[in-house]
């Protein structure tokens, strides 16, 4: 997909860097093709949950999954409508291997006027051997990205 298309859908490294928490985690944009957005969380010592094992904390992976699921909504939608996470479920199948990056991708599989339904996966070597599965729903909160609504369902 051409860079201009990525700009329009907001799937670029620049877009990721504009989200303070995502920038702080050091998340890198990897790919956007078809419906799927893929990002990479580089292994960093300060993201470790247990210093004995060196394994990245679940919270960091959850945050990346939440974000990549949101990115999938931005790519699926035809306009830059603002939205917020309604609920997020993550199933951890195995711990991430220490000292290795974690990849995550997400795809929006259904969008209604009010709600977007997304599935995501976190993995290291192969998506067929995932670290975690995610299912997220998002609620559209206004007519544009500059909407100032703060309450869901308002």
């Amino acid at each position: 997909m051409a860079d201009e298309d990525n700009e329009v859908t907001g799937n670029t490294q620049q877009f990721l860097d504009r989200i303070p928490h995502i920038k702080a985690l050091g998340v890198k944009f990897v790919d956007f093709s078809g419906n799927r957005v893929t990002v990479r969380l580089p292994y960093q010592e300060h993201l470790v949950g247990n210093t004995d094992s060196g394994i990245i904390a679940g919270g960091a992976i959850s945050a990346v999954l939440d974000n990549v699921c949101g990115s999938a909504v931005v790519s699926f939608a035809t306009g830059m409508r603002s939205f917020a996470t309604l609920d997020l479920r993550i199933d951890y199948m195995k711990p991430a291997r220490p000292h290795e990056d974690v990849f995550a991708f997400a795809e929006c599989y259904k969008m209604t006027r009010q709600i977007a339904f997304v599935r995501g996966v976190a993995y290291q070597d192969s998506e067929d051997n995932p670290v975690a599965n995610a299912a997220a729903t998002f609620m559209f909160t206004g007519t544009g990205i500059f909407s100032k609504k703060g309450e869901f369902g308002a």
Partner: protein
Amino acid sequence: MNFHDRFKAMKASGDFSGLADALPYTQFMGMSVEIVEGRLITQMAYNDTLIGNTVLPALHGGTLAALLEAAALFQIAYDLETEIMPKVITLTVDYMRSGAPKLTRARAEATRVGRRVANVRAEAWQDNPDKPITAANINFLLS
């Protein structure tokens, strides 16, 4: 001192105030633990790097998921006899209200502890504990 020994020492002394600092991630996230009226409260200090939506502004949903996961983990580690940190199997988070750029507190309660699995419910709030901004149910695998 390695993490396992630090955790063991906390169990022995009953002083868990250093628990969030013992995990690089929770320290990075500005989390801290305190006991208030016998209940463990996990706090996440406000920092601009926690923001998800710069327009509202609002905390990133992922930071709240992480806070609830930490609150639940710390509570269960505090409650149980085990010296080994339990592992999260599933985490389900409900987002109820936008998180403002300010301190967030969380508390958790084990709703059911079995031999192999524990279910914990956690809530996070900012101004009013009766108006949580986010809640979660977490299932842990016990060693």
